[in-house]
């Protein structure tokens, strides 16, 4: 007998600091899916994703866009009658899929998040222009033009930074992060 853990247990283990009831207490009522403002765009609704996890359908879950389409609005979470923290579950699935390097092709979410975190690790603060290459190439021409037009107008209104913002104690900031994650992967 091997003592490998199930996919459902793996995901539960990723919900380290979060309070909430275990996924197996889900009664499949569908309140989450009815509440979710993005459900119509997801491959599987939140209710279906929980059912798939409980059945151990790992590939089906990881190959779906569902958790990358979660906007973190927490509406499902405050309404779940079983008090499952569904939004945090979506976060856990994102982390899992990035670590496993297993996600649906064509999604912007994974690349964008990694670019964002790298930017913070380097400078301590967000600087929008540096993020654009992480997603702009996935856009069609029409979207690209719209995005450029919007950015130009923001610039003209003085709402886009020219110089990247940086924190002052960047060296100790980086050493601090180094105590959490190996910097080699992010630099």
């Amino acid at each position: 007998m091997s003592d490998t853990i199930t996919f459902g247990q793996e995901i539960s283990n990723l919900l380290y600091a979060t309070e909430g009831e275990p996924l197996r207490t889900c009664i499949q009522c569908g309140t989450c899916s009815g509440t979710c403002p993005v459900a119509g765009y997801m491959d599987y609704t939140p209710r279906q994703i929980i059912a798939l996890i409980n059945q151990g359908k790992k590939d089906q879950v990881l190959d779906s866009n569902t958790f990358w389409y979660c906007a973190s609005c927490y509406y499902c979470t405050v309404r779940c009658p079983q008090e499952i923290n569904i939004t945090e579950l979506m976060y856990a699935l994102k982390r899992y899929s990035i670590w496993q390097n297993h996600y649906k092709e064509g999604l912007i979410g994974p690349t964008f998040s990694e670019a964002f975190v790298k930017m913070i690790v380097r400078g301590g603060r967000s600087y929008e222009p540096i993020l654009a290459p992480a997603y702009i190439f996935s856009f069609g021409l029409r979207e690209l033009l719209q995005e450029v037009t919007g950015a130009t107008e923001l610039l003209l209104k003085g709402r886009l930074p020219i110089i990247p913002a940086r924190i002052k104690r960047l060296d100790s900031f980086k050493r601090m992060i180094g105590r959490i994650i190996p910097m080699g992967g992010l630099e």
Partner: protein, 291 residues
């Protein structure tokens, strides 16, 4: 004079600079000082949590540790910053093991977090720490006849913190009434603006924005009031893209609630960052501005 440690967050440095300016001006008028946190770092929005939980808590805790040294409560005007800081503080308090990990990393920056910081959203300062009477007493230009959609969005009210009303809160309406405006019944006031999906899942986010704008039109509001830079950008800056995507014709002003308060207080529009918006709200507010 009341004083708070102020965590502006990255958006308020530039993209939402009018929120920053109007926050400073309006609180000053109420005898409140917002003292910016020294050398603060980005709260992580949602993305730290996509990558690594411990990293996310550490980056938020650095700001908490810096704030703790001031002995003041922290105020965050951005809903995402607020949610991240609030729940980081809550998790660190109840989980000594997590706090130990985080403090081990903070040592590198000569910081330590003891768990004694209270975090508030800027709108809570106006709704809880200042009374409606105090606000009313500063109003010189009541926004009479201005119909405002109070847009709460997500992360001010969700996740739930204690036992507060997460379905039908009324504090935003209370602030708008105090400055003489008419808060309209805005059925989608608690719905999400799409947040960062505007980049990662564009069509989904644009349709969420369209619904919110249409609902404001249906509520016969003349302006949407928001308390979050993400909401403001999605609802306003992306309005043109909504129109192109869905063939709609929205031209709907979206203001920070502090800009509306500032106008009612008689603060010059320029000091409130008015003029940096894509959709001018001057026509709807002209009667007030001219008085």
């Amino acid at each position: 004079m009341k004083e708070y440690a102020y965590f502006p967050g990255c958006s308020l440095e530039k993209m939402a600079v009018s929120y920053h300016r109007s926050a400073i001006e309006t609180t000053k008028k109420l005898g409140i000082k917002l003292k910016e946190l020294e050398d603060w770092n980005c709260c992580g929005a949602t993305t730290y949590f996509y990558i690594d939980e411990l990293l996310a808590y550490t980056l938020c805790a650095r700001n908490l540790a810096i704030a703790e040294k001031t002995g003041l409560d922290v105020v965050a005007p951005c809903s995402a910053c607020y949610k991240n800081m609030y729940f980081t503080a809550a998790h660190l308090k109840k989980d000594p093991d997590l706090a130990e990990h985080v403090n081990f990393a903070l040592e590198e920056d000569n910081l330590h977090y003891n768990g004694n910081v209270k975090i508030k959203h800027l709108i809570e300062v106006f709704a809880q720490d200042v009374s409606a009477e105090e606000i009313k007493s500063k109003v010189s230009h009541p926004l009479e006849g201005i119909r405002v959609a109070p847009y709460y969005g997500c992360q001010i009210v969700r996740p739930q913190k204690e036992k507060e009303d997460v379905e039908q809160p009324q504090f935003f309406e209370g602030i708008l009434s105090a400055i003489g405006a008419t808060p309209v019944n805005y059925p989608l006031k608690m719905r999400c603006c799409g947040g960062s999906l505007i980049i990662s899942s564009r069509t989904a986010a644009l349709s969420m924005v369209r619904n919110l704008l249409q609902c404001a039109v249906d509520s016969q509001a003349t302006v949407i009031a928001t308390a979050c830079p993400m909401c403001q950008v999605n609802l306003e800056v992306y309005q043109q893209q909504v129109n192109l995507e869905f063939g709609t014709n929205f031209s709907f002003p979206v203001m920070y609630f502090t800009q509306l308060i500032g106008l009612a207080f008689g603060i010059p529009p320029k000091k409130l960052g008015i003029g940096k918006e894509f959709v001018s709200f001057a026509p709807s507010l002209l009667p007030v501005l001219q008085e």
